[in-house]
Structure formats: C-alpha cells, structure tokens
Amino acid sequence: MPLPILATNNWYDFRDLSNFSRLILENLDKILPHGIVYVVAVLLGFVASFLIFVLPSQLIVGVYGERKLIGRIQSRYGPNRVGPFGLLQPIADAVKLMQKESLMPLRGDVIVMNIAPLIFVAPCVLLFAVIPFGPRMIIGNIPSALIYFIAVSGLPVLAAFMAGWGSDNKYSLFGAMRIVAMSISYEVPLVLALLGVVLFTGTLSLQGMVFWQRDLNIWIAFAQPLSFAIYFIAVGAELNRTPTDIAEAESEIVAGYLTEYSGMKWGLFYGMDIGYALAASAFAATVFLGGWSFFGLDKWVPPWLIIVTKTQLFYMIFIWTRGTLPRLRVDQLMAFAWKFMLPIAIANLFVLATERMMWVRAFDADLKFVWVFVPINLLFTAGVVFAWARFLGYRPENTPRKARLVNQAGGFIPLGGAKGETRP
Amino acid sequence: MSALFLVTIGIENFLAVGALLFALGFAIALSKRNAIGVLMGVELMLNAVNLTLLTFSRFSPSDRPVAGATFVVFVITVAAAEAAVALALAVSVYRNRDTVDVDKINLLKS
C-alpha cells in the first residue's frame, strides 16, 4: 500500500514530527560513522515518543487526570495543593517516592525482588515502539506488529510473578498466583478477538490496520463490536484494572504482589501500571478506533494529536470503570473467561470468518461492502451475549433487589409471606 | 576458521550453539531429581532442536525454504502440549505420592 503523504517534508511541518528527526539524522550521518545513526534513530524515536506521548500522558493525564477524574466521580476535589490546580502533584509524589527508604523483607529472595521492577519497566517501553503515531511516525514498522505486541505484553506477568515470589509474603504470593492465572486465562479470548480483526484487515501490521480503517472510513470497533468488547474486558483483566484488579485487590490481599515494595521500586510498578494501560489504550485506539486517522480530519490536525487524544479518551474509560464498579472474585473471573468470553469469542471468530468468505465470494472482495456487516455484527453481538448469558443461567429478573417489609416483630418469616408481610 | 572464526558467523556457529544447548538440556533431563527439573531439560533440548532446524532452513539450499520454519511451528506446538501434559502429570503425581522426586516415584519397583 503506498504511503499517502499527508504532510510535507519540511522539518517545520508539525503534522509529521518524523521530518524533524529525519533532518537531524541526515545531518548526523555526515558526521558519525555509518551504522551508529541507526542507534541514534532508535534512541531519538524513543525520546520523542517519550516526550510527546509517555511523559505528558503519564504524568499529567495518567496520574493527575486519573486522580482528578476519580475525585470528581467520588464527589471530592482530587489533588489541588501542589502547583497550579495541583498539577505538580505527580512530581511531588515522585520526589516523595524517591526519598523513601526501600525496605526489603529479611527472608525474601532479594535478587529476584530487585530485578522484578526492571523487568516490569522494559516491556512497557518496548510496547510503544510499534504504535504508529502518524503515517511515517513509527519507530518499528514491523510486519507482524500485532504478534509483537501480544508477545511483549505477556512479559510483565513474569515480573509480577517474580515480585510476588521474591517478597516472601503470603499476600504477595496470592497476588502473583492470581495475576498469572488470570493473564493466562484472558490471553486466549484476547488473541481470539484480535484474530477477528486480522481476518478483516488481512494484515498483522498496525500501520496497515490504520490504513485499512482510514481507506474505508470505518472503525473496526463498529465493524466488529464483539471483538472490541472482548478486547476491552480482557485487556482490563490483563492490566489489573477494576473490576478485575484481583491481583492487587487492596481489600482482600493487601496490595497483592506489591505488598512488600516501597519507595521507587513500588513507584516503578505503579507508574508502569499506568504505562501499560496507556499502551493498551494506544493499541486499542490503533486497532479498533482508527489510529491516527479521523475520517479525513488527519489531513489538517496532526495525526499524533489524534491518536494521543483517542488514547486518553480510551484510558478514561478505564478510570471510569475503576471509579464505579466493584471487583469480581477470582474464581468468578476465571469462570467468566473460560465459560463466557471464550465461547463467544470463538463464535465471533466463526461469524467473522464466514463474513470474510462471503465478502470474497459474493462481493468480489469489494471493500465498500464492509458496511453491510456493521448492523449484522451489532445484532450478532447483542444476540450472542444475551443468549449465552441466559444459557449459563443468568436470570436477572429472579433476583430480589429490595428487602421484604413486615409490619410486626416476630420470629422467622419464610418466603411467600406470612404474618403481616407487606410487599415493598 | 582461525581469526575469521570470531567475525564471520556461519552455519557452524549456530549449529554449535544448538549442539551445546542440546547437550546441556540432555544432562539436565538425565540428572535432575525433580520432575519439573527434568521437564526443563526437555524444553531446553526442544529449543536446541528448533534452533538447529531454523539454522538449516536459513543456510541450506532447498526448494522448499519455509520447511524448517514450519517445522519449528510444529515443534513449538508439540512442546506446548507436552509441557501441559507433563506438568499435569507432575501435579497429579504429587497429589497421589506426595513427592515430585523422580527417584521416589518407583511404584513398579516392588
């Protein structure tokens, strides 16, 4: 697919920041020996993505925005003391964390416990390498970026497990076991949901998926609502966000695998939790919500601004659910993954494969006909979710939601009413 | 060989790494007392085989260049199945015999 050049090649064209980096690299290439410039390019890419994406997102929106929004949801103010509007609160927190003494349990596995935060941080940085921020703004435009993303996002589980093991704390071990069991379980429907996307777009490259959505003027979230929903739930489970944050459930197992951590080691885990959530949001924005394209608007608005906005909006859904929903129990989560999500993910895949075949055979692979599938898939989503829930015995109407009322004291009153019981 | 040994990477280097890895996995699988340790040795051997397969696929002339890579896919599949069953066996043995020590799993020895 030829790259449609939206922006000019002038270095000052802020719609495509890769011009600027290319300018630097070309000039550096004249000075430095050949080959070094690739290293510089990668470093520059990381620095740039860190500056425009991770740093402002993580500090300002990730920490400050999350706390402010949670504060609004919980009818309180949120941070408002440090700096204007409390904007410097994340920095104050970071400074506080760095000052804190790093406590280590005496009988813990010190090496494992110290390595774990590092292993937790590294994949988060790697994940952003394949997110396209614009038609040319991508650090590693590898052909199988989707699998890369899945592979790398499986690594932090190991770090969490190491943290839980090394801490020599029963709550930590609980958290570690829970996070491992849950991430293995939710990986399956997640990959099945993404497979549906691959079926439609016919590429594993994230950039290719963005172009597909841009060319058709459709988001995959509309074309495959069930895939999107499964992805959202499964990725929430993998990221330990409420309502599936059982690995750090503070009301049950104090802080899960983070119980024994303090200081900046804890801070790394905390910050990278947000980092992973942002990476997953960016991934969702890329795969399901059109990436840096926005129905033609990306010609005028900088594409990187579009995807950053989409990422933050998607992340806000995580915050919203966190502020609203209670937490599921671990066995219920497992049952949900295996009994509910997996069958409907497989059914979804069947339907999408059939549609793909129809598309090729009946519509001569005319991409315009993808709109036909939007209402079909919407109906299918609603139908399969409802039907499978009923099949599994979900009967909301049988659940009494208000207490019975009686007007007179006495002994035990059996169901069905007796002795002055009045219906609510 | 000689000085080029270090600066030119050929098929021999990859095969040597595969062979050493296989030998290590072999030693681990034969000598470990823990059933899980034995399983780890087997996994290392499988990885060495994968490496060798892919090396041949990359360096050897062939009319079907994808064959090696495809075989690696199959080996990975089989390894996953094998790991699942072996670990289930280990857990099952532990439940029934209260040990995962392969020396003590000797029901057939009267």
Binding site: A409, G410, G411, F412 | -
Partner: protein, 175 residues
C-alpha cells in the same frame, strides 16, 4: 405489644415444670437455677413451646465479693417474652459454671468474655480462652478485688466511688 418480662417466679415455675428440682430460688427479677441442672433446664426452656426462649440475648457475670452470678437474659421471638435466669458460683478461687454453648451457640463469645474478665470457668465450653486480653494476663480485671492485685492498679483510685461495697447481692427489683 411490648415485650412481656417474666418475673422470677414465673420463670421458676416454668423451669420447675420442665426439669423438676432445677430451681435454687427465685427473686422478683430473676430465677436462680442450680448449676448442675443448668444446661438441661436451659435446653428445655429453649425448646418448650410455652417458654420458647430461642435467643440468648445477653450473658454476663457479676462479682459479688463472695460469689459470682452469671446472668442470662433470654428472649422469645414468637411469644415476645423475656426472662432473666441466674446461676451462682460460690467457689471464688475456682469459680465454675456449666457452659450453655451446647444450647445456644451465641454463648460462645460471651462466655469467653466472662471468663476473660471475671475468671469464671465455663465447664464444657469448646474453646475457652482469653478473648480480649492476652494469655497470661495477671488476674481478672472485672473482679472487685482486682485493684489490689499484683500488677493491677494501686489502691486509692477508688475513693471517689465510695467505699461501701457490700457483700450481699442487691435484692430490690426494678421493673
């Protein structure tokens, strides 16, 4: 409408009817049972449809210098009636009362508490331990002579409350 409080005589009559020879004495407020027949009588009071004291509302011990009383407040839900039953333990060193945990599970914690704070041993209690204080705490805090115990507070602090502590139990009933 309001709960009918059984006077001691009525409780005594019911207890005597259910388990003959179980009543030691009765005051206007409470019925005193004999310790050896306590569990049997309590079980009968709980299951008898006329008394129907299914709920052991409250259990506490009182120290009267020379003896302890364990007070049981019983409640019936269906009949909406309320009775007070007491049992005395005269051995101050090894005060002991049969446990009513076999009759009411709810006595479990309250008997533990009475044991912890007053040192009344409940025979037959499945797991009698010091529930609020730690094992090895010196003395029994709610006993009247606790202040002069070694390790307890020094005497003299109780001057304000008056010194006329009487040995005999209060008798006047208040309805």
């Amino acid at each position: 409408m309001a709960t009918r409080v059984w006077p001691g005589s009525e409780t005594a009559a019911a207890a005597e009817r259910l388990v003959p020879g179980s009543v030691a004495k009765s005051t206007p407020v409470a019925c005193y049972l004999k310790p050896e027949k306590l569990v049997e009588t309590m079980a009968a009071l709980r299951t008898d449809p006329e008394s129907d004291f299914v709920h052991l509302t409250d259990l506490c011990g009182v120290d009267f210098w020379d003896h302890f009383e364990v007070v049981y407040h019983l409640q019936s839900f269906e009949k909406n009636q309320f009775a007070t039953v007491k049992v005395e333990a005269w051995d101050r060193e090894n005060a002991s009362v049969p446990s009513v945990v076999p009759v009411w599970h709810g006595a479990w914690m309250q008997e533990n508490e009475a044991y912890d704070l007053l040192g009344i041993r409940f025979e037959g209690h499945p797991n009698l331990y010091r529930i609020l204080l730690w094992e090895g705490y010196p003395g029994w805090p709610l006993r009247k002579d606790f202040l002069s115990m070694p390790g307890g507070l020094q005497p003299g602090l109780n001057e304000f409350a008056g010194t006329a502590r009487r040995a005999e139990p209060p008798v006047r009933a208040v309805e």
